[in-house]
Amino acid sequence: MLEIKDLHASINGKEILKGINLVVKPGEVHAIMGPNGSGKSTLSSVLVGNPAFEVTKGSISFYGKDLMQLSPEDRSHEGIFLSFQYPVEIPGVSMVNFMRAAVNEQRKYRNQLPLSASEFLKLMRDKRAVVEMDNKLANRSVNEGFSGGEKKRNEIFQMAMLEPRLSILDETDSGLDIDALRIVAQGVNTLKSAETSTIVITHYQRLLDYIKPDIVHVLYNGRIVKTAGPELALQLEDRGYDWIKEEVAE
């Protein structure tokens, strides 16, 4: 479904990704780990078409479509979802209005009629339960005044609403206490199916205790330098990244 070939990307003329190759199949969970500054967040930004980054070389295809030709919103409509590391606050825009616009835009793209108000509110209620989100949060402005944990929970709630085919979780575990982590991970696991894939970007093994990866990659200096099974994450937890850096240097 997702196939990244020799992807190079830069920001303000500085090359961050230096040839990424990655294939993610339906139903798979991939973890991407790596030290700070290795390019993990850049990779997620490039996948969703953040205009701050420039792709200088390579290709990304998603279910046969050339992602590079699609606008960020159409990538979303195609079923790519990013749970942001730092979800932004949008004062004045209620979660209800925001989600309604998002859901109905997606439906329009798929030639479906917009949901009626009652259908939509029912969907909100059902999906809120997935992440045990309070009704009060749903009536507030997007992320405004949310705690760190509430913001992350809100990301997973939106993911539940939009039912993506590929979810990218960018450091979703950062800033979460253990209870919030459990709820968020449970949410992600509930939404997982044989047709959907997940890319988990994280520094730590902690989140992977809850969301079990099939494949673990180590991203270092803009390249994937190691790929292995879930045991790799445990190894990294024990030994840190230095041994990988040394391997790469050799």
């Binding site: 969703v48 078409g49 953040n50 205009p51 701050a52 420039e54 606008s71 960020p72 919103e73 990538r75 979303s76 409509h77 979802f81 990013l82 942001f84 979800p87 932004v88 606050e89 949008i90 004062p91 004045g92 825009v93 209620s94 209005n97 925001f98 616009a101 998002a102 835009e105 997606q106 793209y109 402005s141 939106q158 939009l162």
Partner: protein, 482 residues
């Protein structure tokens, strides 16, 4: 972030929807301004002598005045001799008695603007006075309102039919000596609406005036006079549009409102005069004096305005709180895009004891525009227990526009409580990208954010207007960020 800016810049620019012209025979008097022109206007309108005298006094006073320069506006020199001061798009017959007599072209024009003048087609619960150029084309539901004693008619008709009321109230809130544009308007004003709500009557429908400039090189100088007698209530709406023309058009209006004991007036405006093109060519100069006097005890006046149009806006809907316990509100959203300039706000003059005023102003600037809030809160020396709350927010889209706030407070009594809050914010690339990632296009995202920001004011508008205003906000800002 260069690429990001490009994405935002490339929105298609929605054309001004109301920019068409109507091809009707229009009786336009020669350009220029002098006493003969004023006599001619007065003659054409078959006015009584005292009104001509009022005009001439105003004109002579205007000649002694200079155009004000204190506003944060760059106004190109205006040649007052290059403007025609009277344009009548009606056919020769006198004011139409029924729809059959109104020129079908004019009906079509107002239909196209979404203002059907046939009563059976009209929005239920709304009576309209339709003014094109210098004259009122048609006032709907006039008879139905008269049954309740409510007078709602064109200004010219009011001069003929209700001279005592006009004599009593004309210039009583905004005198012709008030300012440059008020003097000009008093000299050459053409038509407008007159509203009188008798004692104890609650007006059963929204009253509205729709102003349309059509003819080229003409100015529009209308006057609206609203009187709410004791214990009455009225909600009044004003809408305006103009064709797209390369030349600037001058609009200098006066609105005067008198609110008697325990009466309440709500005045809402959706101002959408042609704003000029993306390069700042053309557009309406909107120099308006609006003021109400809360004359009676416990009287109440509220101004709500959504200002999206005009090349230049100079407008401060104000309240004089004369009656004890009277209260006033000012809710404003002013949007400027491209090269538009707005200097708008309000004045709240507290004279009566325990008077209360609220000011909520939301400025939105985009493109190369300049948007200023200018407000005065004055509490007189003998006024006890006055209370004011002001909130002035500015939202910036892009980095080439300007937002300015000029709040003046002039408080002479120590029992007054005056509060002022102000914020400035910006729609960030991050917010827009967040919306994009959720499948919401940038222009829709701006619409969501702007409407969220302006919600507090929009909610004050009557419902039909609120929906229109929401759409208008989004359209006005299309192609704006970058």
């Amino acid at each position: 972030m260069k690429k990001g800016n490009n994405i935002i810049k490339k929105f298609t620019k929605e054309k001004y929807k109301y920019g068409f012209t109507t091809d009707v025979h229009t009786d336009i008097i020669d350009k220029g301004l002098n006493e003969d022109v004023i006599r001619l206007i007065s003659f054409k309108k078959e006015e009584p002598e005292w009104l001509l005298e009022f005009r001439l006094k105003a004109y002579r006073h205007w000649l002694t005045l200079e155009m004000p320069t204190w506003a944060h506006l760059t106004i190109p020199p205006i040649d007052y001799q290059a403007i025609s001061y009277y344009a009548d798009p009606r056919q020769k017959k006198k004011g139409p008695k029924s729809m059959d007599e109104v020129d079908p072209e004019l009906l079509k024009t107002f239909n196209k603007l979404g203002i059907p003048l046939e009563e059976q087609l009209a929005l239920s619960g709304m009576a309209v006075d339709a003014v094109m150029d210098s004259v009122s084309v048609k006032t709907t539901f006039k008879e139905a309102l008269l049954d309740k004693g409510i007078i709602f008619c064109s200004f010219s008709e009011a001069v003929r039919e209700h001279p005592d009321l006009i004599k009593k109230y004309l210039g009583s809130v905004v005198g012709y000596r008030d300012n440059f544009f008020a003097a000009l308007n008093s000299a050459v004003f053409s038509d407008g609406s007159f509203v009188y709500i008798p004692k104890g009557v609650r007006c059963p429908m929204e009253l509205s005036t729709y102003f349309r400039i059509n003819a080229a090189n003409t100015g529009q100088f209308e006057r609206t006079l609203i009187v709410a007698d004791d214990d009455s209530y009225v909600s009044y709406l004003e809408g305006c549009t103009a064709p797209m023309r390369d030349e600037n058009q001058l609009h200098a209006a006066i609105v005067e409102i008198t609110v008697h004991d325990r009466a309440e007036v709500k005045y809402s405006t959706v101002q959408n005069w042609y704003p000029g093109d993306a390069e700042g060519k053309g557009g309406v100069f909107n120099f308006v004096t609006k003021r109400g006097n809360c004359k009676g005890v416990n009287s109440k006046l509220s101004w709500t305005q959504v200002e999206t149009g005009s090349a230049i806006t100079w407008k401060y809907p104000s309240c004089i709180l004369t009656g004890d316990n009277s209260s006033a509100e000012f809710y404003s959203v002013a949007v400027t895009n491209n090269y538009q300039q707005a200097d708008t706000g309000t004045k709240m003059i507290h004279l009566g004891n325990n008077t209360k005023s609220t000011i909520i102003s939301k400025g939105i600037s985009a493109g190369h525009s300049q948007n200023s809030y200018r407000g005065l809160v004055r509490v007189a020396e003998k006024t006890v227990g006055a209370r004011n709350y002001s909130q002035c927010d500015s939202l910036l889209l892009g980095d080439k526009c300007g937002a300015h706030t000029f709040p003046y407070m002039d408080v002479h009594n120590e029992t007054a409580v005056v509060e002022h809050e102000a914020t400035t914010s910006k729609i960030s690339e991050d917010q827009l990208f967040y919306c994009n990632q959720r499948g919401i296009k940038t222009e829709d995202a701006i619409g969501l954010i702007v409407n969220g920001y302006a919600k507090e004011v929009i909610n004050k508008l009557p419902m039909e207007f609120a929906v229109e205003a929401q759409k208008l906000l989004a359209v006005s800002l299309e192609g704006s960020v970058g």
